[in-house]
Amino acid sequence: MALRILIVLLILAVPLELPGCMQVPEAVFHEKTFPAEGTFLEGQLGILHPSYARKHLVVAYRYMSGIRLNNAETEAISAWPPFGPDEEVWLAARNNIPGIAPIERIDVYRAVQKEGRYYNYINCNGDAFITAASTLERARSKLYAKDWIAAQDTVFADCSQGNAIPPLASDPQLRSDRAYQIASAKFYSEQYDEARKDFKSIAGDASSPWHVIAPYLAARCLIRAGNMADAERELQTIVANPAMAHWHASANGLLAFVRLRLYPEHRMHELALALVKPNSQATIQQDLTDYRRLFDQDVRPTENDDLTDWIVNFQAGGKGALEKWRDTHSLAWLVAALEYASANGSGPPDLMAAAAAVKPDSPADVTVNYDRVRLLPDNDARALAVRLLDSDIPVSARNQFRAECLRMARNLEEFLRYAGRTPVGDDGMPHDDTIDDDSAPVFDRALPLALLQQASSNPLLPAKTREQLARVVSIRELLLSATPDFAAVFHLLHTPGDEPIVLSGYGRLTTDLGELDPLKDNWWCAGSSGPPHWTPPDQRPPEAAASFLPAADRQQAAAEWGKLAAIPAAPDWLGAQALAFAEKNPRDPRVPEALYLVVRASRYGCTDEKTGDFSKRAFDLLHRRYPANEWTKKTPFWYK
């Protein structure tokens, strides 16, 4: 019977709803790969890390070299590169013509599948649709409008597949446009040699409205065909021709594209020099993209340049930067040298003196002082960190200085003072102050109940943390009691959000203590180990981090932790308490509900191999002793 019930349960039971693609939000106190604050682009660099993406390191290098970003450059760097075709512009114009059957969609991607390769590329770019829409505006009142549209439909059908070519025009007025449509159709259907011949022919026809753009498109045919060398020559001709001034910007863009592929090492050097030029708003976005692309491909410039050298060195940890700084005395190399020194625990006197001399208005001030805090003796480091915390620094930097102060805490008061952190980033969560992984395990394992109780009312801690600690103390008192009070157990059965674990960050995803968490973060797991990921691997053991405590407190904490670690998973512990109470108090009106809640806990709580036994015992007792009770009716299954 029990097996049958279990099978039915497995087939029919419906879990709590999990939102699709749900990401569990994780509080971040500083970002590792990009600056947390938008003010970075204005020169407030905060604490610079070698793990930052190269885009941000280029910006930091500029500021440290005294080359500020102007507003237009900032805007260009912040903007997303243009993406996505503008076929809607064309479709709206086309479908608005009376008598034309509407088209809903144009597929702009063309697949490449040959010789064991598969991918797609955007064959028809936005410019094509915008040009078509503006040409339609000119043609719509003409007699040949429908003929032109039909041919253009053929051209755009080639974007995704096929190689259809519009027929030659019968109307002489349409001849120039049709020649252009035919060339375009050949281009989109990957007939590049043919398309190039056609565009060349159009270029030689001064009567065609397309003769000015045609050389540019002929060069594009060469690029598509992979003939970069010839493409470069033709594009250079265009750029040198004043009559084609309107196409110079586009041609220069294509030239950059071609040169990137023809001479990557040389181009990388050009880009590195261009990126540190002021007022480069017209080119900085594409240059930055190309530079990073070459970096990612492990290309190195033909000639050394300081920007690339610095990025390579800084990202590798700054080894050798000291000599470079001694040669150049530049701020960027000072930062790289300090990075290496702080990671290795010692900085030479000349470096430390230079670091101390950095002015507060320097863009590297916060980074340099962060490294100094990590290098100076504790007393000096503490005083410096406190001074920085009193100044106007980005929130993420404040969090990192607080972490350093916490590391150097000499007593419980200092520990509590610097435990609080402010989440950063754009995660949509309320950024109330909370605690990080460097203090949560210490609260959890290394502070005895008496000190946790004190901490829970200490205003040095964030309000949210105080509330959490108060709940933890209350639950631990219950768990450690020789005779747990049933009223408290009954309450705990109703509040799956009550955990004896001190959580960092945002804590439990489901904030309502009375609500079940869809990811089963309810009550606690066996061994008080909490969720499997909760112990941070890169932190000192909690006991070592709490070395400021008197030995008696540490011993008391260890003894309490030992007892807590021996307590079984919540559904088992709650089940044992409820079943024992039910045996002794069969007429207590709370018993049926408590048994129902035990079964519920066995479904939604953290389980172990004994949980099914408690679930079945509660289920059996409920059905045997209280067959007509409302809570019995709500308990059709038990859970394993």
């Binding site: 419906v14 999990l18 089963k520 797991c525």
Partner: protein
């Protein structure tokens, strides 16, 4: 004579014991998931492992369907067994009619040399009826010779029966990137979930899955060495 009888007995048990029929007969027992990044899988022996590559992402937004095909190059050896994976991303609560989405998914089955289709999606409770309709609409749009697979949250294969009867040959429980406290089961009761499992090379499992076919995910582009390492791990399980 006795050893011969013992071996014959063991072989008889192995071959005559009722196994669930392979829903993808003739397909490799290992598939590498090749996600949207440049992937060069020419090192794969087509007989040892297949390629389940992200072929397109179908976005459902504001009542319309848009498609983003694979843009990153995929390379594979001649004869590789290709499975086109289509990721479905609902980006608003206003879902388009299921037939339009099904048509966009079905197009991936027409990619040359593709021998199977896999649909990858997450479904909330309220979206389940929609996906049921979508998959029902998809099946007749895809040639009968192309089997349809789907990925599944482990909860769909554990205490949940909603996937029963879906017109797919298998549901692949994803035994990685699970929520805190969730532990992957070794076996699943629904028949659809029994033949395959999805694992990731960066998340070691406490217990090896019992599924006969594995789909392996790598958070980085595959290399021959990561593939060999994954294969060594898999061989320990089977």
């Amino acid at each position: 004579m006795k050893p011969f009888l013992a071996i014959a007995g063991i072989l008889a048990i192995v071959f005559l014991w009722p196994h669930p029929a392979d829903p993808l007969p003739g397909f490799p027992r290992v598939f590498l998931w090749a996600w949207e990044r440049p992937e060069d899988l020419t090192f794969l022996d087509p007989h040892s492992a297949g390629v389940a590559f992200l072929a397109r992402t179908v976005c459902l937004r504001d009542g319309s369907v848009s498609v983003r095909p694979r843009l990153q190059p995929l390379r594979y050896s001649p004869g590789a067994v290709l499975m086109a994976v289509v990721r479905v991303e609902p980006q608003s609560s206003n879902l388009p009619p299921a037939d339009g989405a099904a048509a966009a998914i079905a197009e991936a089955a027409a990619i040359t040399h593709v021998r199977a289709l896999q649909v990858d999606f997450d479904a909330t409770l309220s979206q389940r009826a929609y996906y049921r309709e979508l998959l029902g609409d998809l099946r007749p749009r895809v040639p009968p010779s192309i089997p349809i697979s789907m990925t599944a949250l482990t909860s769909w294969c554990e205490s949940d029966g909603w996937i029963a009867g879906l017109p797919v040959v298998e549901a692949v429980p994803m035994l990685f990137r699970m929520g805190p406290g969730e532990r992957p089961a070794r076996t699943f009761r629904p028949a659809l979930c029994q033949s395959s499992a999805g694992v990731s090379i960066d998340e070691p499992l406490r217990e090896p899955p019992s599924a006969a076919r594995l789909y392996i995910f790598s958070p980085r582009p595959w290399t021959e060495s990561t593939y060999r390492a994954a294969l060594r791990e898999v061989r320990k399980w089977h």
